[in-house]
Symmetry: C2
Subunit: 414 residues, 2 copies
């Protein structure tokens, strides 16, 4: 390769998720070409600079080079062509197309609506930054925007969980209702604003299953000592019942289950879980998925980059995100039933959690929420608002839509 790749490269390596100990490293240049590097250990991949296959240059080096050479026009194609080119770092691998797909859909719409004047180039988890570092990468301007899940960053700020998903929480519809017609948007905007980020809902998986276990869970005592991959506040809740929760990226879950590093895992639902192969090593799929009635995803945008954006392009992002959200949810809903049939045919066993387990989980959740509220004024303020909204929504759906659905299914779903 003889061309220099100026834009789109940050010094450092880019890791994908094929193994818990080694990363398949590669770099992506500003032209969108992807350059595969050697497999490295995690420690190596955190240190190493991208040098193979493509002559790259760090941001700092580039700034120096630009100042002392004629490279500015090459460096800023956006300015030269009157176009705006953004990179989107996704928290998800391309193989999990339901989640990954929101980035390409956003890109397609924005590109079409702007006649190619505003382009967004999506990069999979690990291509620019690891999947769980997207929020930081957006906040510090490594990328203009990212697609991620608030629940990944509760170590940074637990209040972000309200933008993601909570056990015994809101459904996708209830989340949108809180966000658009309750105080959800205002409250979440405050949280993200404090991090230098603007967030727009860009996707939702719908309800998730409770998770895959090697043994059937029959009572609350059965949770004790289980090591489980579980994201968000589900981990905090389960830890009250003796679970040791772990947050592991998609591609690393199966090897961990296989090796016995963990005993159980939840990811999303039948369609994704089937691909990841959980049923082969932990065949008991537990329901109902009370830990996640939804998982709302966000388009994270660097605050300064958002402010620079023309109003027309801001509106395009909002509208394209709404389309992407609808599409992601529809994709999961359409694919999950068929995947469930295949899983059951492949030997998966469905287990319905007992009422005493559900009750114990719910009690644990409210304890966790109260504990978090005692630690953070911001969390407390959002929690109070969210709890009041939840109470109203749950009562209404219990009387109306969910009851109507179950009445219908009792006659049609046998």
């Amino acid at each position: 390769m003889s061309v220099w790749c100026f834009t789109g490269i940050v010094a450092g390596s880019f890791s994908g998720p094929p193994s818990p100990t080694h990363n398949l490293c590669y770099a992506v240049c500003g032209k969108g070409c992807r350059h595969q590097l050697k497999t490295r250990t995690l420690a190596q991949s955190r240190r190493v600079a991208v040098r193979e296959d493509c002559m790259t240059i760090s941001r700092r080096n580039f700034a120096r080079l630009a100042a002392t050479s004629g490279a500015v026009a090459v460096a800023s194609p956006a300015i030269a062509q009157g176009a705006i080119k953004w990179r989107l770092a996704s928290s998800f691998p391309k193989s999990i197309e339901g989640l990954w797909g929101a980035g390409p859909t956003l890109a397609k719409y924005v590109n079409e609506m702007s006649d190619g004047k505003f382009t967004v180039h999506p990069f999979a988890a690990g291509e620019i930054v690891p999947g769980l570092q997207v929020l930081d990468a957006v906040a510090n301007g490594t990328v203009e925007c990212g697609h991620s899940y608030g629940g990944y960053y509760i170590g940074k700020n637990p209040t972000l969980i309200f933008d993601g998903s909570l056990p015994f929480g809101l459904t996708p519809r209830q989340h949108n209702a809180w966000y658009l017609y309750g105080d959800g948007k205002k409250l979440m905007d405050e949280v993200y604003d404090g991090m230098g980020v603007v967030s727009i809902p860009i996707g939702n998986t719908g309800g998730q299953t409770f998770g895959w276990f090697r043994k059937e869970l029959k009572s609350p005592a059965d949770f004790n000592g289980i090591k489980m991959r579980v994201a968000g506040f589900g981990g905090k809740v389960l830890s009250k019942l003796g679970v040791v929760p772990q947050q592991i990226a998609a591609g690393d879950i199966y090897p961990a289950l296989e090796k016995g590093t963990i005993d159980a895992a939840e990811w999303v639902g039948p369609y994704d879980d089937e691909k990841l192969g959980f049923h082969k090593v932990a065949k008991y799929m537990h329901l109902p998925g009370v830990l996640e009635l939804e998982a709302n995803n966000g388009l994270y945008i660097n605050k300064a980059k958002w402010a620079e954006l023309p109003v027309a392009y801001q509106a395009m992002l909002r509208a394209a995100c709404a389309y992407a959200l609808m599409e992601m949810l529809a994709g999961y809903d359409a694919r999950n039933p068929k995947a469930l049939n295949r899983l059951v045919a492949a030997g998966a066993q469905l287990v319905v959690l007992s009422p005493d387990i559900l009750k114990a989980l719910r009690t644990a959740l409210e304890q966790v929420l109260d504990e978090e509220a005692a630690k953070s004024e911001q969390f407390k303020r959002v929690l109070e608002n969210w709890r009041a909204f939840r109470a109203e929504q749950h009562r209404w759906f219990w009387i109306a839509d969910a009851r109507a659905e179950m009445s219908v299914y009792a006659l049609t779903a046998q």
Copy 2:
């Protein structure tokens, strides 16, 4: 008013829905100003031309005038300024803001995204054409686009019901799944294409309540002889149980109930129904709303106008419609719970339909569907596809999301 209003006026009158016998007539000129006319009887308002308050001109007269004067530049601001200006005829009055709101939201987004180069001006039911004639108005080019509900036009083509809502049918999520990831879009596009229309989902009310009755319904026999305002296939299903179904626009339902012209009515749910005042004359609100788990709305676009539209503007319409859909559903979900509380406080009685009523309704539905299929090859083809998709979706939601919701609500909604 001394200016002439050239654009946006079609000869004839424009009626709103305040009474079944009289219309409050007004005209809207191309500049968006609304000119109120005298109250007229329905018969008068169908005949009368708009002359008061604003000097108007019919399309035919305008063409004559334009040909013989210097008025062309005024007549075609779109061409003069390189802009595209569309009118949107809504099937809904402004007072029902949940449904009405989709038009203004679409208009806002398209205007912002195009920097004002593509504008859509929404007109309420009756301002250009009556609410139930929007499909025709779009098909014949009276307006470039409209916002309506497929179920209003089943007299024209019963297959349109699959784009709206069916008893024991799909929820909003299931509808989107069928539309985007099943064959829904392909099949519905064929139906609309045959009418010279392109349709894009633009809104959904979510699940609706079963309806308001003067007496509690205790058994299937209680339906016999009831005259009920009910839209779509709900009417066909109820007529199997002896109901005399009637399709009446929003504003005319209350007076009909009050006078006893009808005995029962369904419109949407607590928020809208409260405004329309049904509980004051028929206090028994029946649940669950198995006749409508959703009501999907469409943006109808004249096929030739769609074909003329730049790809960028087509994409804007698709994305803006997705936003409007999310917003409408969120609005209903947020507002209905509070409205239900107010209705109950005002004396409304909630009645849950018995299992034998639900079973009778479901049996009637499948009979109605089979009868329609026997009459139309197109209906039969769509029905087979839809039934297969429904079976898969209902089984999945019965196992997963709806069950998870009910498990959660059993602990949170008391």
